[in-house]
Amino acid sequence: MAMPADEIELLIRAGLPDAQVRITDLAGDGNHYAAHVVSESFRGMNRLAQQRAVYATLGERMGNELHALQLTTAVPN
């Protein structure tokens, strides 16, 4: 099962409205993505908490429709 890149971006933005989201389709197959998410709301969180916040926006899809997502997070400079 695959998931389009803009759907991933929409879900992340819905949960983290201020986030800058950059999605890369790693294999060109609509199934292996990298997401880089930058949000002010990450400030003060460690990496684990930042990634949990992103996973929370994706809910049940993560690990199901969306099984391969390389994820990096950052706080805006």
Binding site: L48, Q51, Q70
Partner: protein, 110 residues
């Protein structure tokens, strides 16, 4: 069933200083993320225990709720959940993982 799975995972992370829950084995990883996690640990050269979740459905499901983390691989160090392969890579690049996994015994050769 979840309770048994959680109890087994609890034992694994308590009895092994470094545990990698992964798909496949270090020699034959069955997914790119697990492969990357193994590569990082091998590069650091720290001893670790690996658990192949593909061989154990109970742990495969249980580990996700145990850690409250939706994906595999997952790394535990001294009983604490560290994260998946992306966090391992970020920590490795920052030199933090090497430090965390460094031998505690000062006499051991680097």
């Amino acid at each position: 069933m979840t309770d048994t799975a959680h109890a087994r995972i609890q034992d694994l992370v308590k009895n092994n200083a470094v545990v990698l829950f992964m798909k496949g084995t270090p020699l034959f990883p069955q997914c790119g993320f697990s492969s990357r996690a193994v590569a990082i640990l091998e590069r650091i050269g720290a001893p670790y225990e690996s658990v192949d979740v593909l061989q154990d459905q109970e742990i495969r499901q249980g580990i996700k709720s145990f850690s409250d983390w939706p994906t595999i691989p997952q790394l535990y160090v001294k009983g604490e959940f560290l994260g998946g392969s992306d966090i391992m890579m970020e920590m490795y690049e920052a030199g933090e993982l090497q430090q965390l996994l460094a031998p505690q015994d000062a006499s051991s050769a680097g």
